[in-house]
């Protein structure tokens, strides 16, 4: 099984390429969204149907694959090689899908979102995307080493080891301008160069798979969809940096990521692509996985290292850089898993190629998880520099019918909210930071007119107050205070001047906290105040125009706009909506419990959240 040199790898790849041309594969999306909509049951039903219909399992295959992206319409399927894309497939469809699609390579029109042009690329959701990191999602079984190899896997390592050498490999990464995908956007090459002069052995390369952003799953999808790309990236990095050991640190909640990575590592080791004398060279490197224990702060670089060492995962002051004294005080380079997955692409194709994608100073693509109030949500990969508006209105298909766009929140708890003007902004590290948000890990939440910026700020501040490790005073003390004031505002006990107070305290926190958690914790507060100050002031006087904060508004139905459909009445849990069939409805303010259900249910914009005082 062991590859003794590059020729053996090439031979095996060729052998796989010569596979029977008549093979057809149904790939079932195994991304977290589709798993939740039942793709595991679907896979079982499909396999059963295939056995029942007597298809030759060597030629008609069924397997899981990485996230196909359009989670909203799951479970999703892709037929290889036809490229047919099916959505909303239920176990009860299994017999038909197996017979028509897998058996005959024909389309099942009723399961296709666009039967005229059945590839997924024809959908607006996929149109503007460029799937590089996700290029194997839908094309391979993430647990199959052969699938990885057959799709160009380990070409880059061979080039690095036998053509480039360590110095050229490092130069490629440095000149590519690759920036860290974990949030900070720090140039990877600068970090790598800083390690070259460092002393001490062993040297470490680490991958950050902690994915702490509470509304994001792109790193998870990568580790589960193409784990070997992370492994190969780390191996190439280790070669360039002279590292002997690598560790992938994975968030506690991701058992499937751990299993897939471990399987990938075992597969690479068995083939001599990890371990002693890789591909017969004198380069030796091995890799393992460490699981976190459930603490957001462990995503921070120094805390992550403390956690691997078996201590409490609290950050330290960075007098000394990790590239000189990191894990166990040895030279260490830490990158996000997506950063590592970019490395094989750059090592193989060179820096010029990479710089040709994305925007100036922001080369390459970025995976985003798009969630919130757009019509389409899911996992998206775009060239950096794509306009925010393209993400929201083309990929996302705009906000849901009858609603108005209000803001995007990007970067999770360290990021911020941006208003409508942001739709013109290029989606890259620099523009978002300048606007007071942050790229962060790539979590993007779209907010409509029923989402309240004060509530969102309270949400993230509450999250961070819980997650603050308590080591430094500003973070430990300020976050609960901010949370308290924000909670007051959203509960109707706000005071005049609260907004100014928040602004001042958040500003102080930003300047004095020890680590990135506290330093960026102010962003959700400051950015929402900056762009939605008026709504903050309204909350001071007990009014929430978004109809989100309970008790801070009364729903009022505009008789001119009401079409008497009754959907508000149906969803009201308190019986506060009056009016008979075919009559225009009204709300009895006294009975309203302020849940906001009617506002969401009205498709005609007929219900407004009014100030209580204005309603008799």
């Amino acid at each position: 099984m062991r590859f003794e040199g590059p020729a053996a790898v090439a031979a095996r790849r060729e052998e796989l390429a010569r596979k029977d041309p008549d093979v057809r594969t149904l790939r079932v999306c195994g991304g977290p969204g589709c798993l939740a909509s039942g793709s595991r049951e679907l896979l079982a039903a499909l396999k059963e149907a295939a056995v029942a219909s007597g298809l030759d399992p060597a030629k008609r295959r069924i397997s899981f694959t990485g996230c196909l992206g359009l989670c909203e319409r799951g479970p999703l399927l892709e037929l290889d090689p036809e490229g047919h894309f099916l959505r909303g497939v239920a176990p009860s469809d299994a017999a038909e899908v197996v017979g028509t699609a897998l058996g005959e390579g024909k389309l099942v029109p009723r399961l296709s979102p666009n039967p005229e042009s059945p590839e997924k690329e024809s959908l607006e959701f996929y149109g503007p995307q460029k799937r590089l990191i996700m290029r194997r999602f839908g094309k391979i079984d993430p647990e199959s080493f052969d699938d990885y190899l057959a799709t160009g896997g380990y070409e880059a390592l061979v080039i690095s080891l036998f053509e480039s050498g360590p110095a050229e490999t490092l130069r490629r990464v440095a000149e590519s301008g690759l920036r860290g995908r974990g949030g900070g956007g720090f140039p990877a090459g600068l970090k790598w160069k800083a390690m070259t002069g460092a002393k001490g052995t062993p040297r470490y390369v680490l991958a950050n798979g902690d994915e702490g952003d509470p509304g994001a799953f792109m790193n998870r999808s990568l580790m589960e969809g193409d784990p070997l790309a992370v492994v190969e990236g780390l191996t190439i990095g280790a070669f360039a940096l002279g590292a002997e050991r690598g560790i992938i640190y994975v968030r506690n909640e991701y058992p499937l990521s751990v299993a897939r990575l471990e399987k990938a590592i075992a597969g690479a080791r068995a083939r001599g692509l990890l371990g002693e004398n890789i591909l017969g060279t004198d380069f030796s490197f091995d890799l393992s996985v460490t699981e976190g224990g459930g603490a957001f702060v462990c995503g921070e670089s120094t805390a992550l290292m403390a956690s691997i060492e078996g201590r409490e995962g609290t950050p330290r002051v960075k007098y000394v850089r990790s590239t000189e004294a990191g894990l166990w005080d040895k030279p260490t380079v830490l990158q996000n898993v997506e950063t590592w997955a970019n490395v094989p692409l750059i090592a193989a194709n060179g820096p010029e190629w990479f710089k040709g994608i994305g925007a100036k100073g922001n080369p390459g693509t970025k995976v985003f998880s798009l969630a919130g109030e757009t019509r389409n949500t899911g996992l998206v990969e775009l060239p950096l520099g794509t306009k925010v508006g393209v993400l929201v209105n083309v990929v996302g298909g705009g906000v849901r019918k009858g609603r108005r766009f209000k803001a995007i929140q990007s970067g999770g708890p360290s990021g911020g909210c941006l208003p409508e003007s942001a739709l013109e902004l290029p989606l890259d590290f620099d523009h978002l930071t300048e606007a007071g948000a942050m790229m962060g890990s790539g979590g993007i939440i779209v907010m409509d007119d029923l989402s309240c910026p004060v509530d969102v700020a309270r949400y993230f501040t509450g999250f961070l107050a819980e997650e603050s490790c308590g080591k430094c005073v500003p973070c430990r003390e300020a976050l609960p205070v901010l949370r308290e004031v924000l909670s007051d505002l959203t509960r109707g006990s706000g005071r005049k001047g609260d907004t100014d107070f928040l602004e001042k305290q958040a500003g102080l926190l930003k300047e004095t906290a020890l680590c990135g958690l506290g330093q960026s914790a102010a962003n959700p507060v400051l950015s929402t105040i900056r762009h939605f100050r008026e709504e903050y002031l309204e909350h001071e006087s007990g009014y929430c125009r978004s109809g989100r904060c309970r008790g801070l508004y009364v729903p009022v139905i505009d008789p001119g706009a009401c079409r008497a459909c009754g959907s508000c009445q149906k969803v009201c849990p308190a019986g506060a909506v009056g009016g008979k069939k075919k009559e225009k409805r009204t709300v009895a303010a006294g009975k309203c419990v302020g849940c906001g259900a009617c506002l969401k249910a009205c498709a005609f914009f007929a219900i407004r959240a009014e100030r209580k005082e204005h309603v008799g």
């Binding site: 798993l35 952003d213 509304g215 994001a216 460490t290 224990g293 459930g294 956690s307």
Partner: protein
């Protein structure tokens, strides 16, 4: 200093403990992995196991306590037979997770973080299970239930 939980049944059968510990080398960096192993096996960290671990790794008990208190996945109190986890991630928050949590608290008679007296359920929160498109979601052990509303909540096997 964490106390042992007075209500916790300390009569845990620890016969397998030795083997569990020895499945990993006695090195400091195995502290968190071993704590996780113990948590998985016993659904909490029994006092005796924590002491055994401290001895096995040759680490001060204080350090083992400190680490076991730091990480949220570790618990000194036994967890229920089934874990009910409400997603409080961003997307779920925006689509009504707070109200869902309230409803679940009422249904189970438990506040967030509590385990029922009968030991059947523990109510916890998670942050994003990757099913944002199906928000709001609840996990029952490893099963994800999405697009929850009052009706579908009533259908959950609780």
């Amino acid at each position: 200093m964490p106390k042992t939980n007075p209500g916790a049944p300390e009569a845990v059968d620890l016969t397998g403990l030795r083997g569990l510990l020895e499945s990993r080398p006695p090195e400091a960096r195995e502290l968190l992995p071993l704590l996780r192993d113990i948590q998985t096996r016993y659904r909490h960290l029994p006092e005796e196991a924590v002491r055994g671990l401290s001895e096995y790794l040759g680490l001060p008990l204080a350090r083992v306590y400190a680490v076991s208190r730091f990480y949220k996945s570790l618990s000194r109190v036994p967890k229920g037979e089934r874990l009910v986890k409400v997603c409080l991630g961003t997307a779920c928050h925006l689509r009504g997770a707070p109200a869902l949590l309230e409803a679940l608290e009422g249904k189970l008679g438990l506040a967030l973080g509590e385990t029922g007296k009968d030991g059947r359920f523990t109510l916890e929160s998670v942050n994003c299970v990757g099913a944002c498109a199906l928000a709001p979601v609840v996990m029952l052990d490893d099963e994800v239930h999405g697009k929850l509303n009052d009706e579908s909540l009533a259908d959950l096997p609780l």
